[in-house]
Symmetry: C2
Subunit: 478 residues, 2 copies
């Protein structure tokens, strides 16, 4: 380390010696740089008030991106090792600051800067994660290249496609009619940024702080948070072996009811036909909107999926929704809604305010992917693989003798396992987290209902990972 | 056309003869098919109650995608030429229905099905459109391929990146510090689905139906709609040659003030330093949030851009926002916000409810694009080209002698032209629309202020298109 002392009093270094970054290490370059600088400060090799090389010259010296250096400096700044001078210039902090362990406030009134993170793969047995390694990314990319070559206007603003490219809406309508018994015309389809955006916007459109929203209990937290974000009151409704229980609790100001009829989240129940018809009847009489979230209906292994509730509805009260996050890959962020005709125009106006339009290149690529049949081939492959994984897992668990029972198998991405020994599932889930597993407690999905159990997602993990996960599980149960 | 009359009474055709689709025509295949079927029905060659071939067999016969057929059938259904039978089967409508011109209601209680549209390029002189042909799509795609190869976890759910990939947030922070004098740490950056999502979510977070939002008048409609969607009262504030006027009108329940200091939308004024300081003072005293929308600050041609208002703020009252829609391409849908530290956590929670996370592959690609320097090279190129286009346009208009004056030039994507002859700008804008031009009236952006003029966007049009546009403009003015 050679402090540049050419101009007396100003201690600027133009380079830091003895820094060596290794690109083969798992630890990021910025973390390596921060580690080494911290060691130098602690060892007194970098002294208080010395001005560090600029991020630019440091980046050139180390042949890394400037952001790597910025991130390293910032994390040291956040920990109090450095002080900020004029814009993006740093000096080594005074000794008192530098050697105190991680002060919460680094500079006056400024919270600690966080450490940047990298994307990660899910840990076993995180629910609702598809196996992205099964996804035919090359085929997808070929379609993307082709649509971009054909249509450079996809790069432009296209305010008319606020609720989705018409080409994609047509293909989604065709898919839903054929595969899910949904009765709709293509112009009732809205494409959203994943199903979470659909829920959030429906909450904004249909409920307000004067309203209530009925929800299955236990139920999907992403939906509950959407009604809460709209300041509505959430009214939990118990679930039995036929689905959401009727009659509904008293709530005269209710405007919607959220259900997962094909495969109740998280318990896995399929709503009976009698219950479906009764629910449609209630909705019609009370002018309630039914939101049917068909989040993983494609994954039936032992029988054909039950057609949608929407397909039974004669009075346009059902809003059907789903997502390509589970059938393709979650990073795509494309979901869809089938809107009753009277909601198409208000939803379109809201979507324009919410984000103008979604990313059109992905939408055009998906349209081509659906059109080519690649989507259906991929679905068939996933169904086969996921079915095998579920069977493999259930069989392994049976052999372990763990006090877990799976009342509903043969479908879905997740399996709800009941704890047969009455132990606290939250405490267990936390302990399993310590063992490197990501298995939520069933009771965490309820507000009044507190079923004791664990929710296992099996789709993202191959047999080796499942076997290892089950070993960790056995250890965690002890 | 050979009706299949093998089973008596059921008139099902298994194919339609004499349909010929030409892929070289500008008219889409589905429109060609619909046109030809309509002609057959009108000519009596397709008779009432005949059942049409299934969409699948029709698609096979014509060697087109099934969706093309579905779209054609649906548009005929929407116009009343066809009647729907069981799921996705259609018969030719009875004569009375078929020959009435475009009934509004095709089937009982069902609105007309719309005709699918294709993406289009903007017409001259639509404001705020970058020239997507300047965008280095090949370089972008190379980065995309590389990041996908490196990090397949980008395909997964990554709930931790709800407000953006950390890698991108780092690079955006570096860019804003260097180019816009924004003072922030990377963990104050939130990536959004274009700046419209930023506005919508800020509205949701900061105002409610008990609150008011101050806005420049005239001002940006996308912002106004966001405060309205949050049910807040919008309080218009006049704009003078120094920017938004002070003191602000009475509104004790105001919680935010929306401004465009670098280049007022739509007038183009740059807020003076004195006004900036006074505004910051008001915000601090009244605990108002200032939303600084820096939508096209990168496009300064004759001088360096004014640093951001955020950079002057000593009290963390400014929320800075911008977008890559103008500097890269709008179809990307990536914007950003620099949040004051106390808003980071509430905004993150809201963003998770709003859409989980944005599309990560694009975010990782953008991070690499920024890191490589390609972004800055592209900006320099755009600046040069856009500057030339603006000069070319102003000079052309001067020569035409039209009663248009441009008080502010030398920056921005748009030019506000004042009408010097006092004519009604709304009527003029409508007439120009008839002449194939897309030039909004300035008065349309105001609620109380009604400046008479036109807003020209010049960036998306090369000199040939500008010259042709000016010729159409001259004709439209007559």
């Amino acid at each position: 380390m050679v402090p540049d002392e050419s101009s007396a009093g100003v201690k600027t270094m133009d380079r830091l010696e003895r820094v060596y970054l290794d690109r083969n290490l798992k630890r990021s370059l910025q973390a390596q740089l921060a580690d080494q600088m911290k060691a130098m400060i602690q060892a007194g090799k970098l002294r208080a008030n010395q001005r560090l090389p600029s991020t630019r010259s440091m980046a050139e010296q180390l042949r890394v991106s400037r952001n790597t250096v910025v991130a390293a400096y910032e994390s040291l700044y956040g920990e109090g090792y450095l002080q900020a001078k004029e814009r993006s210039s740093f000096i080594v902090g005074s000794a008192t600051q530098a050697f105190r362990s991680r002060p919460q406030q680094a500079a006056a009134g400024r919270a600690q800067v966080s450490t940047p993170l990298q994307p990660v793969a899910p840990k076993p047995f995180r629910p609702a994660q598809p196996d992205v390694n099964l996804f035919p990314l090359k085929i997808w990319n070929r379609h993307r290249t082709r649509v971009l070559r054909r249509e450079s206007s996809l790069l432009q603003y296209q305010a008319r496609f606020s609720i989705g490219l018409d080409e994609l809406r047509l293909n989604v309508a065709g898919y839903l009619r054929d595969s899910r018994g949904v009765r709709c015309s293509w112009d009732q389809i809205a494409i959203t940024g994943g199903s979470q955006q659909a829920l959030f916007l429906l909450g904004h459109l249909l409920v307000d702080r004067d309203h209530s929203a009925y929800m299955e209990d236990p139920g999907y937290p992403g939906a509950r948070r959407s009604w809460e974000a709209a300041r509505a009151t959430v009214v939990p409704v118990p679930v039995d072996h036929e689905g959401i229980q009727l009659p509904l609790p008293e709530a005269p100001d209710a405007s919607l009811i959220y259900v997962t009829p094909s495969h109740q989240f998280p318990l896995g129940t399929c709503m009976s036909l009698a219950r479906r018809l009764a629910l449609l009847d209630v909705a019609r009489q009370r002018s309630l909107w039914i939101i049917e979230d068909d989040y993983d209906a494609e994954f039936r292994y032992s029988s054909a999926p039950q057609p949608s509730l929407q397909g039974l509805d004669e009075h346009q009260r059902v809003i059907y929704m789903g997502s390509f996050s589970k059938t393709l890959f979650p990073g795509l962020r494309l979901g869809f809604i089938v809107l009753p005709p009277e909601l198409v125009e208000p939803f379109t106006r809201l979507k324009m305010v919410a984000d103008d339009q979604g990313p059109l290149i992905d939408q055009a690529t998906l349209a081509a992917f659906l059109d080519s049949g690649a989507f259906y081939a991929h679905l068939r492959r996933c169904r086969r693989v996921y079915s095998e994984r579920q069977q493999f897992f259930v069989e392994l668990i049976r052999r372990t003798g763990l006090p877990l029972e799976f009342p509903i198998t043969g479908r879905g991405m997740n399996l709800a396992g009941r704890l047969m020994d009455g132990r606290d599932d939250q405490a267990l889930s936390e302990r399993l987290d310590g063992a490197g597993l990501d298995i939520p407690a069933l009771s965490g999905y309820g507000t009044q209902a507190k079923p004791r159990g664990l929710l296992f997602g099996l789709t993202a993990f191959d047999e080796t990972a499942i076997a290892a996960g089950v070993r960790d599980l056995v250890r965690g149960f002890r």
